[in-house]
């Protein structure tokens, strides 16, 4: 995508009252959107034992308390493992389905997309309850394959939707041209379509990781003694109200932020690679 032309930029520089009101609206909406995160960040450095805002003083004691909390540490590690595994499987399943639904020529492609998307638009409590009713009698509550399956079920629709939209926005002309020049379906995908839809795939992978990391509603039903981080936090917030949870959330955000930055740098890196390969 090319940047705005010089005349566009000149036009944007003029600030009319309506555009000022528009900017104020955007600012207010962002303030609303970010308020709990920012306040949580501030509260994590509070010296108080309650949630008074503004904090009466500052300290790092809640971060120090985190280091001794084994439950939090184990929850974080378990969540990271689960989210990475779910992301990999969701991308594999999701891209394959998106490709089948957009480029395949068999009947029922629309139904296929709907089937995969169904878990996303189904109330999470119903999925959680259903899994509980299936796995509890089998003695599989809290087992890793069940948790992983639930997370992949929930993240695959995101990958499928985002990637299918990316493929749909790409005219099939390029692939057909490559095909008429003798490229096999595999080569057409790898050399023609994949470089074009790579940003969608990376974006959907990041989305899938985020969804899995934060998933609470379904996981609460099928967890046993080994809990994911959000579940540990859910239990903690109903029991206590001190800033230790805020400190944990800052650490939690740090981990996910690193993951997002890795994904973003990969987009840049792979994007450049694809550009070179395209020549």
């Amino acid at each position: 995508m090319s940047g705005p032309s010089r005349t566009d930029r000149r036009r944007q520089r003029r600030v009319s009252p309506s555009s000022l009101a528009w900017r104020l609206l955007i600012l207010l909406l962002y303030a609303f959107l970010l308020a709990p995160v920012i306040v949580g960040l501030v509260i994590s450095f509070s010296s108080a034992n309650n949630l008074a805002f503004p904090p009466p003083g500052w300290s790092l004691k809640w971060y120090a308390a985190l280091l001794e909390n084994v439950e939090f540490k184990e929850g974080l590690i378990f969540s990271l493992q689960l989210a990475v595994a779910a992301m990999i499987l969701a991308v594999l399943f999701g891209v394959a389905v998106a490709l089948a639904a957009t480029r395949g020529r068999f009947p029922g492609r629309e139904m296929l997309l709907n089937l995969v998307t169904l878990p996303l638009i189904t109330p999470a409590v119903a999925i959680g309850l259903g899994l509980l009713l299936v796995v509890a009698p089998l003695g599989l509550l809290g087992s890793l394959p069940v948790l992983l399956g639930a997370h992949v079920l929930l993240t695959t629709p995101f990958v499928t939707r985002i990637v299918a939209a990316g493929i749909s926005a790409t005219p099939p002309d390029y692939e057909e041209a490559a095909g008429s020049l003798g490229a096999s379906p595999a080569v057409r995908f790898r050399r023609v379509l994949l470089p074009i839809i790579l940003p969608s795939i990376i974006a959907s992978a990041a989305m899938s990781f985020i969804i899995s990391m934060g998933e609470t509603a379904i996981t609460l039903f099928i967890i046993a003694d080994k809990a994911t981080l959000p579940v540990v936090m859910f239990r903690f917030v109903t029991g206590r109200t001190d800033p230790q949870l805020a400190a944990l959330s800052v650490v939690f955000m740090g981990f996910t932020l690193v993951a997002v930055m890795v994904a973003q740098s990969t987009i840049g890196g792979l994007g450049r690679l694809a550009h070179v390969a395209g020549k």
Binding site: W22, L33, V97, F106, L133, T216, V260
Partner: protein, 287 residues
């Protein structure tokens, strides 16, 4: 021209995902339907039966019936507010061409990175009796006693809107960047003003994205129970909250299953309406 194939290899590509959906979704849904007709004995135990008793108590029991009404009301309010708050941000982001866009997109995703419980925590601090809003209002002399903004429906609505906004914004944004900005430029160069360009070009093009985002927000609101549980302070009973309570605390699985089936039917009806709407919009836009 396509050469007709006897077997489309694309079918094989979809098999792993189909298998996963059947094992982790279709089977559990069938089991819910079956258990909803069972007879509840005691915590976690039920007798295989074929009775409608659970549906009867779900619909007549004042707590369960009230929970269904509360869910409908809450979903309508939260969805409207979320879409109204999300569209301007998505539109703003989609039109932004500078390096600010990446940063602001990250800021939009940032709340998503934070666990729902943490944001609920943040809202308790912002809206609580000695929180940001109340201390600001009291020190400015506008009110004498703090407003009750948490542990009730007000707090639940505020937090749900904020929690669902990133989903709506990202969905709207990704639909807005797929349609070509050059269409807007074309409208502008043909003499259409900013307002006219928005109403005649941008808004119609973004309607499929709006439909999908609305669908997402409705379903997420219907099934949310973490926020109503923690921010409702035990006063906001939605159907989803009741399913969780029956399943995990009372251990009355047949009643939980019956409530879940009703919840599924409710969201199913909404989905049918929306898919028709979305299809019609697609026809209007591309047809």
């Amino acid at each position: 021209m396509k050469i007709p194939r006897r077997f489309d290899f694309h079918i094989a590509l979809s098999l792993p995902a189909i298998g996963m959906v059947v094992a982790f979704f279709v089977v559990p849904m069938l089991v819910i339907a079956r258990v909803s007709f069972d007879h509840y004995v005691s915590g976690g135990q039920q007798l295989s039966a074929l009775s409608l008793d659970n549906y009867g108590s779900a619909l007549t029991d004042s707590l369960s019936a009230g929970a269904i009404g509360r869910t409908i009301y809450l979903t309508a309010v939260v969805t409207i507010l979320t879409m109204l708050a999300s569209y301007p941000i998505a539109y703003f982001l989609a039109r932004l061409q500078s390096r600010w866009r990446a940063m602001l997109l990250t800021l939009t995703v940032a709340p998503l990175l934070t666990a729902e419980v943490v944001r609920i925590y943040g809202w308790i601090v912002v809206l609580g009796d000695n929180g940001l809003v109340n201390s600001a209002l009291m020190s400015s002399g506008l009110i004498d006693t703090p407003l009750r903004l948490v542990y009730n429906e007000t707090g639940t609505i505020i937090a749900l809107v904020e929690i669902l906004m990133p989903y709506a914004i990202l969905t709207l944004f990704s639909s807005m960047i797929t349609f070509n900005l050059s269409l807007e430029e074309a409208a502008g160069s043909l003499g259409a003003g900013r307002y006219r360009t928005f109403v005649r070009v941008t808004l119609p093009l973004s309607l499929p994205g709006v439909a999908v985002a609305t669908l997402l927000v409705v379903v997420l609101t219907i099934s949310s129970y973490v926020t109503p549980t923690l921010l409702g302070g035990g006063r906001v009973f939605t159907a989803a909250v009741e399913v969780y309570r029956q399943a995990m605390e009372v251990l009355n699985w047949p009643l939980a299953a019956a409530l879940a089936v009703l919840l599924l039917l409710g969201s199913g009806i909404v989905l049918v309406i929306y898919s028709r709407l979305a299809k019609r919009l697609e026809m209007l836009t591309y047809g």
